[in-house]
Amino acid sequence: MTALTDLTLAEARDQLRAKQISAVELADAHIRAVERIRPLNAFITETLDLARERAKLADKRLAEGKAGALEGIPLAIKDLFCTEGVLTTAASHILKGFHPPYESTVTANLKRAGAVMLGKTNLDEFAMGSSNMTSHYGPVESPWRRQGDNRPLVPGGSSGGSAAAVAARACLAATGTDTGGSIRQPAAFCGIVGLKPTYGRCSRWGIVAFASSLDQAGPMTRSVKDAAIMLGAMAGHDPKDSTSAEEPVPDFAASLIGDIRGLRIGVPQEYRLEGTNPEVLALWDQGIEWAKEAGAEVVDVSLPHTKYALATYYIVAPAEASANLARYDGVRFGLRVPGKSLEEMYELTRAEGFGAEVKRRVLIGTYVLSAGYYDAYYLKAQKVRALIARDFDQAFQKVDLLLTPTAPTPSFAVGEKMDDPIAMYLNDVFTVPASLAGLPAISIPAGLARDGLPLGLQLIGRAFDESTVLRAAGVLETLAHFTEQPDLAGRLAETRA
């Protein structure tokens, strides 16, 4: 029999409903797993007692035949989602001791569906980063290691704790948020599935904001089907978020028909960047072959403004962040460092409360919005953003999906690239364009590099067409048949029993 922690979300759901397993035993198995992977530092806050209580309640509801879509499913929640009465930090010192009096819409939806929260996962501070090294609570270590190399690797970011927890089998699935790649890149690094839905698909209400026009919550899972099931529970119109879309939520899992014959899949030529890891390019070609094999029509497309995407992103996102983070001023909640004057209190609080990467982005954002620079930076970036969106519109007149690599490299070692922010930002080069255009995109694990590290492929779809994205991802998942698991031997914490 498969260990309870090796089940997919879909399998666990079915076994719970068939009363083959109980929510309590499923929760207990995962609680032990959470305790065992503590050395990875994937969680900022564990809510294990809460999980046991929720699991009991889930068993009761299952027994009464009142089970929700995720009844009894143990999940990890990125610590960017506000959770009522549970410490919420955004991995920042400035939110020290912050216990929100409200629950984010997405986590409330999951709760209502019966999910069991195991804890709040680590992330880059305020979701700013691609390595999870900017967390105030310390870096997350990837469950993966290079063959014959004991150096700890990064899980990617910003949803690195979620990715590590899912890959290390400490939860069946986790929530992530994606602003420029923060679900997809860590999913690729950790060999799991990560879906960034269309902007507006999931409510942003109650998610600590990084860049409001880009932030989007999504599922991180071990299978495409799990992502489909979980997205269904997370998504939906929310009148409390003005940017939330009034779109019906289809049965995403039902779109996984295993057939992409006749689907047109575009390959954007501008993504063949010089300097991209040859193994990444090789896997991309392999993906193209799989698509053809499955009966899809593969065509070259052009997204001519791709080369401006990263620069555009690193103007728009910091600009919005500089305003979004102004509320962390020491006045009402979180950290306050006393000063002799109001201004000194502000300065000391924000100097101590924010880490280097957050400060860098607040400064960039403040700069690009300043009088005299606004037109040259922010306004220009908005125009380019519109052109990038238009590129996609035009491509999607010819094709149904786009296939690209998720990240230009596999995972790297903890501490690498920290002295070179630009090299770090390049991690997002393939994920940022879809974010700027607000399009749904998924990363699926598709193979291993020679050094044994997972690589991901990305599928990008039309707005609100997650169904087609998931359908094709399901087919590629089957063909890629990625079954490798990280070897955690020797790195796990001792636990009772």
């Binding site: 989602f81 506000c82 919420t88 955004a90 939110l95 912050f98 929100p100 009096p101 409200y102 984010s104 942003r204 209400w205 109650g206 998610i207 600590v208 904001a209 860049a211 409001s212 026009s213 009148p239 409390k240 978020d241 003005s242 940017t243 600009a319 919005e320 500089s322 305003a323 983070l325 102004a326 509320r327 001023d329 006045v331 009402r332 909640f333 109001l342 502000y346 403040t366 919005l369 300043s370 009088a371 606004y374 922010y378």
Partner: protein
């Protein structure tokens, strides 16, 4: 008359533009569901949105939008079918988000005007724009020797910022504009216009120039809380600028505060930091699109505004333009007047309201809404005049008694026996007695001294205790003397 100020080097013209912040009448705040009533316990009307809590998002309140549209139509402006909310960034403890959500490049309303009249001269004042924005909270500096307290009840309440063109040329014009705008807002019921409670606040931009020259450098005088202070602040500021320039100085563009105790303006503290507000479109809010049908439905529901009402009073009621203006200025006064005038002689009603009633309210220092004599009671009094129960002269005494006792006109007339004598026999008797007692004067009258007629009337009136019907008395007297 000339609005110019005489300086040592010649005459100077004042140029004024007003920025009015009008608190929107609405149950809930602009972007949250929290309540808006004045005077509640500090921090009792605050939602997590208003407190700038992490992850909280603004959602536009339809009611506030409707109020802004209504106001836009009331100031003869264009309501824009597309407007955008921007973030105005600055740090202050009573600004929880670290930015104010306002409208910068694309306001909801633009290009309006209103007409004012100063000393009989009409003038049209342009209105550049009206935009919606959130109010900040309140910093309380007087609660503790070293600490500042913050009350967020006001945080997030909807304001309309209404910006005039620099078309005003004197403090009188500025005051007239402000009064007119306030009157319109109150007619529309989009702002209660209460300047003491801060629901209407005014900033004045003042500069001076030699007539015909380009605009001078302006100073902004912030948050002046009465019409009178606005006028005083402008006059002081204009003089200050003239003296400064004439002494060889230069006006610095700055923000100044009006010190009502000393009647002066002074620079606001800590103005060494020039603010860069870094406006940009708020990504939490979509552009505000208005359906023309919605704007039209608001237009259909517009109440009659002061200008139209004044015209009606002049044209239909035959009131003088002056009386009409006085009656329409305040919505409550107009409503009172119309209640009195309904089914009665409108001119007489106007005379009573602007004469006796205003006089009494002035003495009592009461607003018309708290008048001791209701419109219905005053109407009843006028009815007693109309049906000859009492004379106009007696009515004034009855009115004074009504103010004192609160009793109805009828009750007072009955109790004091003031009912007019219309019995011609009784009046004849009185007249006969007067004529008999004044044979000499009768002779004089008959020999041509017409003026004595008044004397006889007075005597006869006195004899009846002032209650004789004046017309009847005149008739009888004339007959007897002819």
């Amino acid at each position: 008359m000339s609005n110019l100020i005489a300086g040592r080097t010649g005459e100077w013209e004042i140029v004024i533009g007003l920025e009015v912040h009008a608190q929107v009448i609405s149950e809930a705040k602009l972007f949250s569901g929290a309540a808006t009533s004045f005077g509640a316990e500090p921090n009792s009307q605050v939602s997590p949105v208003d407190a700038g809590m992490p992850g909280m998002l603004p959602v536009i309140n339809r009611r506030c939008v409707e109020q802004a549209v209504k106001t836009g139509l009331g100031i003869n402006a264009t309501v824009n079918t597309l407007s955008i909310f921007d973030r105005k960034n600055y740090f202050y403890p009573d600004l929880p988000q670290g930015y104010q959500i306002s409208q910068y490049t694309r306001p909801i309303v633009s290009g309006g005007h209103l007409d004012i009249e100063v000393e009989g001269a009409a003038k049209r004042i342009g209105i550049t724009r009206l935009h919606l924005e959130q109010d900040a909270g309140k910093s309380l500096h007087d609660q503790h020797p070293t600490l500042t307290y913050v009350d967020l009840n006001r945080s997030g309440i909807a304001l309309m910022e209404i910006v005039s063109e620099p078309d005003l040329r004197s403090s009188e014009e500025a005051a007239a504009y402000l009064r007119k705008l306030r009157s319109i807002l109150r007619y529309l019921e989009t702002c209660d216009g209460n300047m003491e409670e801060g629901s209407l606040r005014c900033d004045a931009n003042v500069s001076v120039r030699k007539p015909g020259e380009p605009f001078g450098t302006r100073c902004e005088i912030k948050n002046v809380n009465s019409v009178r202070f606005v006028a005083l602040a402008i006059d002081y500021e204009a003089r200050r600028q003239v003296e400064l320039i004439e002494e060889g100085g230069q006006v610095q563009q700055e923000t100044r505060l009006f010190d009502s105790g000393r009647g002066i303006t002074r620079p606001m503290r800590s103005k060494e930091h020039a603010h860069d507000y870094r406006y940009f479109p708020d990504p939490d809010l979509l552009p505000l699109e208005l359906d023309p049908a919605f704007i039209e439905s608001v237009r259909q529901a517009m109440p009659e505004l002061p200008d139209a009402r004044r015209r009606r009073y002049v044209e239909r009621f035959g009131l003088t333009p002056y009386d009409a203006e006085v009656l329409v200025a305040e919505k409550e006064t107009a409503a009172y007047f119309e209640a009195v005038a309904k089914g009665r002689d409108a001119k007489q009603a106007a005379n009573w309201v602007t004469g006796e009633l205003f006089g009494a309210l002035n003495k009592l220092d009461r607003a018309i809404a708290h008048s001791p004599v209701s419109a219905a009671s005053l109407g009843e009094l006028l009815d007693l005049i109309a049906d000859d129960t009492i004379s106009g002269k007696i009515a004034k005494d009855v009115f004074l008694a009504m103010l004192d006792s609160g009793e109805s006109a009828k009750a007072i007339v009955e109790k004091k026996g003031l009912r007019q004598v219309t019995d011609s026999g009784a009046i004849e008797q009185a007249v006969d007695a007067v004529l008999a007692a004044n044979q000499d004067k009768v002779a004089e009258y008959k020999s041509g001294k017409d003026k004595l007629f008044g004397f006889f009337v007075g005597q006869a009136m006195k004899a009846t205790g002032g209650k004789a019907n004046p017309a009847l008395l005149n008739d009888i007297l004339r007959k007897k003397l002819s």
